[in-house]
């Protein structure tokens, strides 16, 4: 049974009296442990698809079925609960909360789950260890480098052991060396932790590490023929 099924997904916007259709009857199936990259020119709707996938945007029509539940029909509150339990989001600009330490930022999604403090502590420590930032746990975002901030963002995304981890240009703000490190880390999530990944990127190098490579153009999703992922 597929993890996620996207059926005839359409998203339209009205801008200056003109109707834009970045996604036009898109279909996609995501299996558990898939590592999918999505490329395409700017403004083609890559981020729109990702936002629909995690339920922070609503489609004009179509369905997104996750474990048999059509999330497009959920209320805003139920969608929030669903995201807390099933989604890890890695942002381009990491979006850490400045008043919280690295530890507290990673713990944030766990506060929404019914977990005792000891279990939360254990999970945060594991997540920080996975991104090799145990020694920076008490640092505030302003005390971290860009790469370290992104690793905290990744730890926050994986700490709940989500059904799906999505990443929006995860290396877009980083220098090439740091980008390579982050890319390696993302690949490890899939290979070692067996997480399902959906990565939106402009960078062919990032796309190349994914097992499935999608291209979005003029509202249509095209899957590149099977190719072995390139090690990061």
């Amino acid at each position: 049974m597929p993890l996620i099924e996207i059926k005839n997904l359409t998203r339209q916007f009205t801008k200056g009296g003109e109707t834009l259709t970045p996604l036009d009857a898109v279909n996609l199936t995501i299996e558990p442990r898939d590592f999918i990259s999505l490329m395409g020119p700017s403004g083609t709707g890559k981020s729109t698809l990702l936002n629909l996938l995690v339920g922070i945007d609503r489609p004009t029509s179509g369905q997104i079925v996750v474990h048999g539940t059509d999330i497009t029909r959920l209320s805003r509150a139920r969608l929030a609960d669903w995201r807390a339990a099933h989604i890890g989001y890695i942002f381009q600009t990491h979006h850490l909360i400045p008043v919280l330490t690295a530890y507290e930022n990673v713990e944030l999604p766990l506060l929404l789950l019914p977990l005792p403090a000891a279990e939360r502590r254990k999970r945060v420590e594991i997540a920080l260890e996975a991104v090799e930032l145990t020694d920076r746990a008490d640092h505030y975002p302003r005390q971290l480098s860009g790469g370290q901030e992104q690793r905290v963002g990744i730890a926050r995304a994986i700490v709940t052991n989500p059904t799906l981890v999505v990443a929006d240009e995860p290396t877009g703000d980083l220098d090439p060396r740091t980008a390579a490190q982050i890319l390696k880390l993302i690949q490890r999530l899939n290979v070692e932790l067996e997480m399902t990944l959906f990565v939106v990127t402009h960078d062919p190098q990032v796309a190349a590490v994914a097992a499935r490579r999608l291209h979005l153009d003029e509202g249509r999703l095209i899957e590149a023929p099977g190719a072995d992922p390139v090690p990061a």
């Binding site: 922070i56 929030a80 989001y89």
Partner: protein, 380 residues
């Protein structure tokens, strides 16, 4: 929700100057509200006390200031013979100021054997025995003693009247603690008073089933053609009429107190709106991580409530401290309104702070909860 308490506190700390100014502004406003409410409470206590309906005050007709009311002392036995009257106490009143004052000193002269029956006083220092033996002895209310920094053993002079303080008392009626009790015949013979055989007022204790209005009418009718006509009213009515002008000012001040609450509302709402606008992206992030909109609303409400409560509690604490420390009273024409700290005042002030904080958080909380996630995350 309590799991997010550190986040809420850190957000307030992040903008500590803004938070500090909001809290201090709220504290000042709630301080004013607390003092104004204490005045209103004092007025209510004065005019609705237990004895307000069962004690009549006989005053010279058309007079309110103690200095102008001069009744023959022998009216007392005449009144005592009227039906419905249980007891009559002649009282001489001397005050340093007939106008509204924050530091009015009122001497009340009683026949020494009647003081203890007429006024249930609790002596904090000194003794009734010494009071009864010494002609110029005086018992001083706790509030006056605190305000004037006097105590047992001190002489005290106001307006040419010098008394020897032999005790300090507390009373169940806070207004009483603003009086100085002395002997009636001493006050009548005080230098410049020339009031032997004359009293300021007569206090009439009613018999159990006597009707106050009927008895008051009977007293006034009895003296209508006497040497001095009288006006007799229940104590509560008398006090309300004496402080009527002051009550109007107090009523106006109460509106100023409500205006202070309006100020707190605006202050907290403005600060919370600024905080929400600063953190649109942060609230969108929290919702992306899985916070329900209602929880985001709750976080904003908590920030608003905390600021309002912190400021409110500071202001109320300062107000109560000042009231208990200083023993303030507002008096006019020999009647004192005691400003007293009370648990009711503290609870009321705290509740009002919380209520204003919650109200002020509603609009910003709604704004934060309704944030459209995608556009907010895209903000620079």
């Amino acid at each position: 929700m309590f799991r997010f308490a550190p986040y809420v506190l850190k957000c307030l700390w992040r903008h500590r100057t803004r938070t500090g100014l909001t809290v201090s502004g709220t504290a000042v406003a709630l301080f004013v509200f607390c003092v104004v409410t204490a005045v209103q409470e004092g007025l209510d206590r004065l005019t609705h006390s237990a004895g307000a309906e069962r004690t009549l005050v006989v005053f010279q007709e058309n007079q309110f200031c103690p200095a102008n009311s001069r009744l023959p002392e022998d009216y007392a036995p005449a009144i005592a013979r009227l039906p419905g009257v249980r007891d009559v106490v002649p009282v001489g009143v001397f005050t340093n100021n007939c106008r509204a004052s924050l530091d009015m000193v009122v001497f009340q002269g009683f026949p020494s054997q009647q003081l203890r029956a007429a006024r249930p006083l609790e002596l904090l220092s000194g003794s009734f025995g010494q009071f009864e033996q010494q002609p110029d002895a005086a018992l001083v209310g706790r509030a006056v003693a605190r305000r004037r920094q006097i105590g047992a053993g001190d002489p005290f002079t106001v307006g040419g009247v010098t008394v020897a303080i032999v005790g300090v008392f507390a009373s169940e009626a806070p207004a009483e603690e603003n009086f100085i009790y002395t002997h009636l015949d001493f006050l009548q013979r005080a230098p410049g008073r020339n009031a032997v055989g004359v009293v300021t007022q007569l206090e009439v204790q009613l018999a159990e089933h006597a009707d106050p209005d009927t008895t008051a009418t009977a007293i006034d009718d009895h003296f209508r053609h006497g040497p001095v006509a009288t006006t007799t009213r229940p104590q509560g009515v008398f006090q309300r009429e004496v402080v009527a002008d002051l009550a109007e000012t107090i009523g106006f001040a109460q509106w100023l107190g409500y205006a202070c609450l309006g100020l707190v509302f605006s202050l907290i709402a403005a600060t919370t709106v600024m905080a929400v606008q600063d953190r649109i992206k942060e609230h969108a992030l929290l919702q992306t991580l899985g916070l329900r909109p209602l929880r985001v609303f709750g976080l904003v409400m908590a920030e608003s409530l905390l600021q309002s409560l912190a400021g409110g509690l500071l202001g109320i604490a300062a107000g109560l401290l000042l009231l208990s420390w200083w023993g303030f009273s507002i008096g006019t024409e020999g009647v004192a309104i005691a400003l007293q700290p009370s648990l009711r005042l503290a609870v009321w002030g705290g509740s009002v702070s919380a209520g204003v904080g919650l109200l002020a958080g509603l609009a910003p909380g709604y704004q934060a909860a309704r944030t459209e996630i995608v556009p907010a995350l895209r903000q620079a």
